[in-house]
């Protein structure tokens, strides 16, 4: 709930430079590629963005808290493995298509559990979340390999992978789930007490403690939310693949963090919002999609993405320079 008074579109853009950037690349690719400005391509972009996007929603909460979660890629892979494997458990053999239900539920629970473990360790040990989740990133990936025995699982049931191709009216169902989650997390963050406390804990932890907010459990809840969203992302990804591979989600944490930071969330906590994060993930999604359509060689894609990340960070610093009044520090 920031200032409600006099927000012009221009000032809004200055505060959310990422949406200006999204607009820019959107126009650029529309002009440069005949396939870009197409209704079906927009569907694709949304579906492609949903994977990173779902996790980025949770990462926004965790980062506003002043924490970070590097283990999301591994959590995603673990959840995907559960979602696919549990369907084939003998006990659900007679359930028909309903066997998907326990599988997906269990996968989401596993995600919440991984988040809870991270959150609990951060809470009780006081070790920096970066370190806790760096460890978990290795460890949970280890769990994935223990569970899968290094190979891929696949769903016998095509109903599972058909789900990803479903549309409600003109909207692909995966995109709808992503947009619905975006709306929900946005409302949670901006309208609920938990969401407001998220800012308080990240903005001034001392103040939050003084005001009686139970900081530890609060942070744990946010880790559980990101665990859930990473798992959901893993489940949706596995429906697109009809399978789960043990290496799924490698490096996703880096792209997620990139998207969230592009969206204006501060690594130090206390600042950020879902609208910015949505801009961040769309920026990356549109760039990737557009460069695919324009056939930019893979080698150059790395350079372009890296440079853009740094450039946006630089511009953000220019626009939102903190007022230390020209003090040279």
């Amino acid at each position: 709930m920031s200032n409600l008074t006099d927000i012009t579109p221009l000032r809004w853009l200055m505060r959310n430079p990422i949406w200006g950037f999204v607009l820019l690349v959107f126009i650029f690719f529309s002009l440069m590629s005949e396939h870009f400005f197409d209704y079906r391509n927009f569907q694709n972009i949304l579906v492609q963005t949903s994977t990173i996007g779902l996790i980025a929603l949770g990462m926004t909460l965790v980062m506003i808290n002043g924490n970070i979660d590097l283990s999301v890629g591994a959590t995603l892979a673990l959840a995907a493995a559960f979602a696919v494997d549990v369907q084939s458990w003998a006990m659900f053999a007679t359930w028909g298509n309903w066997q998907i239900l326990p599988a997906v539920s269990l996968a989401l629970l596993v995600g919440i559990l991984m988040g809870a473990i991270n959150g609990f360790i951060v809470w009780k040990t006081g070790v920096d979340a970066f370190i806790v989740t760096l460890g978990a990133m290795l460890g949970i990936r280890g769990l994935v390999f223990v569970y899968t025995g290094e190979s891929s699982f696949y769903a016998m049931n095509f109903a599972y992978s058909d789900f990803s191709a479903l549309s409600v009216g003109p909207f692909p169902v995966l995109a709808l789930i992503f947009l619905a989650c975006t709306l929900i997390v946005h409302l949670v963050l901006s309208r609920t007490v938990h969401g407001r406390n998220t800012y308080a804990v990240g903005g001034n932890r001392e103040a939050a403690v003084n005001a009686g907010i139970r900081v530890g459990p609060h942070m744990m809840v946010n880790f559980m939310i990101i665990g859930f969203l990473a798992a959901l992302s893993g489940v949706l990804l596995s429906t697109q693949m009809g399978a789960a591979t043990p290496n799924l989600g490698r490096d996703y944490e880096l792209w997620v963090i990139t998207a969230v930071v592009l969206g204006g969330t501060k690594l130090t906590g206390g600042k950020g919002d879902i609208i910015g994060t949505l801009g961040g993930v769309l920026a990356i999604g549109i760039l990737r999609n557009g460069m695919n359509l324009m056939q930019v060689p893979a080698f150059y894609v790395y350079v372009i993405l890296g440079s853009i990340l740094i450039a946006v960070l630089f511009l953000d610093k220019r626009f939102n320079r903190t007022a230390n009044g020209g003090l040279r520090l």
Partner: protein, 313 residues
């Protein structure tokens, strides 16, 4: 004024010509596994582009998934979106791309799988597979190992990146054939080398400390095999040790020439790429193409290496 008009007319003419030409050309999209991770894939990509350039009727859209299944699925979507005439896919994971291939099939775009095959469940949705038989390569390596050791000995295995199809299939072929063909050869341990020479070298160093007697080493490709060889030479234990790899790299070929490396499986990325493109063109021409088009990947050993050119990668 007239000059301008002429240019305008001329350019209209070219445009018309171009669109006329594009009616006859076919547009083929390819999404590769992970270009740049090793020379094989890079050489493949170059050969593929070169082959396409050589054919005026072919226009290709070349994409790379960077080893990420999700990105490969996005690229499939993007290619379907562009309504290409055919899609060639080098699966990052044989299992996980099946639904994406199925979607292409539904969009009536023929899919040709290259290099490593997709899972059984997806076979009905593809037009054809073209590439080496990775399981067969594992079998070849096992046979060479058996021959070299004359049925007796202790060996270790260094596999590719865990979880990737090629690595899994080669290991599978090797393990099964070895057990069946020479039960006298025991595998002491299997550890990954991640397709990385330095990591393979480290893995081998640990094997050397751990086992006093190692008679043979099977590596998932020559790049790792040479890493293992380096480790053995450094430990002064390479003498009499049998090194067998797959995907013959130039370094492996040279080591073979020096007599340090026993054998490998010869696989040309150029053949691989050409075969994939040709299969795609055959499919588009409506020819009756068999489902599985394995190109030959023969055994290469110190004895017959003169028959082969030194690999370019």
């Amino acid at each position: 004024m007239t000059n301008k008009m002429r240019i305008l007319l001329a350019s209209c003419g070219t445009l018309a010509l171009a669109s006329a030409a594009s009616a006859d050309t076919v547009r083929i999209g390819i999404t590769q596994n992970n270009v740049g991770i090793d020379s094989y894939q890079t050489t493949y990509e170059r050969a593929f582009i070169a082959a396409a350039d050589a054919n005026p009727d072919v226009e290709v859209i070349v994409l790379d998934a960077g080893g990420d299944v999700a990105r490969q699925i996005s690229q499939m979507q993007d290619l379907i979106q562009q309504n290409v005439d055919a899609i060639i896919i080098w699966p990052t994971d044989g299992q996980a791309v099946v639904p994406a291939v199925r979607n292409a099939h539904r969009a009536e775009i023929p899919v040709i799988v290259t290099n490593s095959n997709i899972a059984e469940a997806g076979m009905e949705f593809i037009a054809a597979f073209s590439g080496p038989n990775n399981i067969q390569q594992g079998i070849y390596s096992a046979e060479m190992m058996c021959d070299a050791l004359e049925g007796e000995g202790q060996i270790v295995q260094i596999t590719g990146m865990p979880g990737y199809t090629t690595a899994i299939e080669r290991q599978q072929g090797f393990d099964e054939r070895l057990a069946e063909m020479c039960p006298g050869v025991t595998q002491l341990d299997i550890q990954p080398g991640d397709w990385n020479r330095e990591r393979a070298q480290r893995t081998m160093e640990t094997f050397l400390t751990r086992f006093d007697q190692i008679d043979g080493v099977y590596s998932g490709d020559d790049n790792m095999g040479v890493g293992a060889l380096n480790a053995a030479i450094a430990a002064n234990r390479a003498e009499g040790m049998v090194f067998i790899g797959a995907t013959n790299f130039a370094v492996g070929y040279d080591a073979m020439g020096r007599g340090e490396y026993w054998g490998s499986v010869y696989q040309s990325p150029v053949d691989d790429a050409k075969a994939a493109l040709q299969t795609a063109l055959d499919v588009l021409a409506g020819e009756d193409v068999p489902k599985l088009n394995y190109f030959d990947t023969p055994k290469i050993t110190q004895d017959n290496m003169e028959e082969f050119d030194r690999p370019v990668f």
